[in-house]
Symmetry: C4
Subunit: 233 residues, 4 copies
């Protein structure tokens, strides 16, 4: 069986989403990539989380061709593989319909960087894609969803996908990523917490200020990069 | 004892509503229909969920006449039986006072199709009935509740009740249905999740757009109909 | 030991409030009355719920004089005893700072009868008291709190305290009652659920309509009075 | 090992924050001070709560110099030690990013004293600091965070830090304190409950009144000071 450890990591990331209340029934999916072998491990489509085992994970190449596995892969596979091809530094992708992040996506609004909880994980607002055109929806829809995400990380300037490891798909829900399956799931959980607090902040004061660039820098680089000081060495 | 499996399925649907936090105390009820025998199995009225056993379920005909059972059936029985008579494709009905769906019902507002979570399950807005007249309330109230639901699936055009398997009763709460008791309960749980997100979406942007017809089609038919691709075969 | 069964019932009502998430730490209190003996059983003040035993309950007369018990009674005792003296049909009183009911109390607003969940338990809006005057607060404050509640059931017309078994104390929190300790706790749990839905209803539509008198009658009298049909005989 | 009991108390306070849902992953931290020895015990940075043991706690002096421990102390250490130096009556400090209190901090708004739940614990509004300047953020940031808190307890008049044992840091989150680690955690839990209710109160009535000075006095001094009557002696 290919990629035994990655299968376990991807399964564990899927289960973390359930444990933290981010997914209902079979909603949501997580995947991981092995960059050396050019292979992706992803959750099968529509299988109960209670029944999921590492051997149920589906292995595909970077264009979604199934290499190992008897089950259908997640129906969002083409978004995952596109993100792996376009964002070479990421190692895992998570998709959920978590309540508050999805509500921002449905409202077509980015999640502003209102505070240091946000700044600890996301170096700026979490963007929302443009609405997909009818042609994109009627065509290679899942692939087009990935293109809409990638577009947000190209304009108006290049953003490192690991510095803002999430994007809201307009009218749909968040995609989140990270270096590892563990990190991607962790980022998805924090995104939902940040979205909850942004919702409350807007509820209290519709035009609340974002954190200053100085505070964004201070918190983000306290946890990330060569000079990070948070946690244990 | 009649309809042993259906009794178990109906009980399980009732318990799923409790497990998912949709019902408080003895609120809510679920039923199922056996189309061949023309019999309905429904929860008894006001019995603690902890004490419910398959043999407590009440069996009636399609006009609510009790065929088997010593307990009083749910006080909403006449709504259930009317829906079975009017919607020949449905196999089960669920009624809850779940918090957010009920809040839309109390506000007299439909739940708009704001996103793909909604589109995966409901092919358009979840409608709300007209308020019942005093005559309807003072007359065959529970039956009239069913008529108000059915009315929403007749005008302005015919809607397939399985394509939008729920309706909000104005000033009251949702009724939800499906092919099986399992599906009806599942739809009720998703309805509440969709209502929560619609509430948040409106909170963020009072006039948020609904999904496009193209996106509604794409998501709905990914999970439903002959060309569905979601899940395992 | 006096009133063994009532001690158990009162303790159980207190624990139900904890189980349903209505009280935090030692907030909240429940009491019951024995009308024949003219004795009140009430939770002691500031004791952890985990440690509460029937024998810790404090027994007083209807004016709050301690008859049995070594612990201080709840600091809200004088409100409880006043309600027992003024409302001769009630058998138990519960006080919580449950989140949504308290938020209405803090906003100085009654909870409107927006739907049938409300109508099933409360025959009209749940009233809010006038703010207490500085003199009342500086005087027999806990007694004055009771007087402010009683005032709401006198004007503009007599309301049966069992038909609307709750009142919000302005700037404070709800007091709830019932025929038995079980009923009072049950009513407090439903009041919080009703308050949550009323809050959401207002959030969706600031001027939502209340249920009609016909619907209020239909639902209230389905569960209450000589012609009630809900539940088992 | 220094300060065995205080290590246990500080660990227990940290775990209480997890148990009550105030912290996610490794967010948040608690510390305690031994005034006689002039030593502070604080949670290590970024260690899973499941793995925390009393011996992992870090001991520092009142200026943050590590006296015992192999792990890095919480990155917020300099705020804790400043508060101990400036507020001589406090014995413990807690920092969380709890959802509703943080939302007020992100909105740059104090938490008004809307009701008696608030008045029982906080003798007036819970203040919010001024936003930190870019210089402060770029300099001794964590120390400056403490200075911004202390500033709020100096102007316009002296406030006893134990009478309002919390402060919101603008764009960040709450710091909370108390006489003991147990009290500080307890106050943090109540602060979050109070923030939730204040958020709802504002949602119901944007300009809701605060409690009167008389009611604030009555409730605060019922639980605090020489004439407190709440609880058991």
């Amino acid at each position: 069986m290919l990629l035994e450890q990655l299968r376990k990591d991807v399964l564990e990331a899927n289960l973390e989403l359930v444990k933290r209340g981010l997914v209902l029934y079979t909603f949501g999916n997580a995947s991981g990539v092995d960059r050396e072998q050019g292979l992706v491990v992803i959750k099968p489509s529509g299988v109960d989380y209670d029944d999921l085992r590492p051997e149920h994970m589906v292995v595909t190449d970077l264009h979604g061709k199934i290499v190992e596995g008897n089950l259908n892969p997640s129906s969002d596979l083409d978004t995952h593989t596109l993100l792996y091809r376009e964002f070479p530094t990421i190692g895992a992708v998570v998709h959920t319909h978590s309540e508050f992040a999805t509500s921002f996506a449905q409202a077509g609004l980015p999640i502003p960087a209102f505070g240091t909880t946000h700044a600890d994980y996301f170096y700026g607002p979490v963007p929302v894609t443009a609405p997909l055109t009818d042609e994109a929806i009627g065509g290679r829809y899942v692939h087009e969803t990935g293109l809409a995400i990638v577009e947000r990380f190209r304009n108006p300037e290049v953003i490192d996908p690991l510095a803002v490891p999430a994007c809201l798909v307009n009218g749909h829900a968040p995609f989140v990523w990270g270096r590892t399956a563990h990190d991607a799931a962790h980022n998805a959980v924090v995104l939902e917490a940040v979205a909850r607090m942004a919702y409350r902040t807007i509820g209290l004061r519709a035009n609340a200020d974002c954190v200053s660039q100085a505070l964004l820098d201070r918190h983000y680089f306290r946890k990330h990069g060569a000079n990070a000081t948070y946690g244990q060495k």
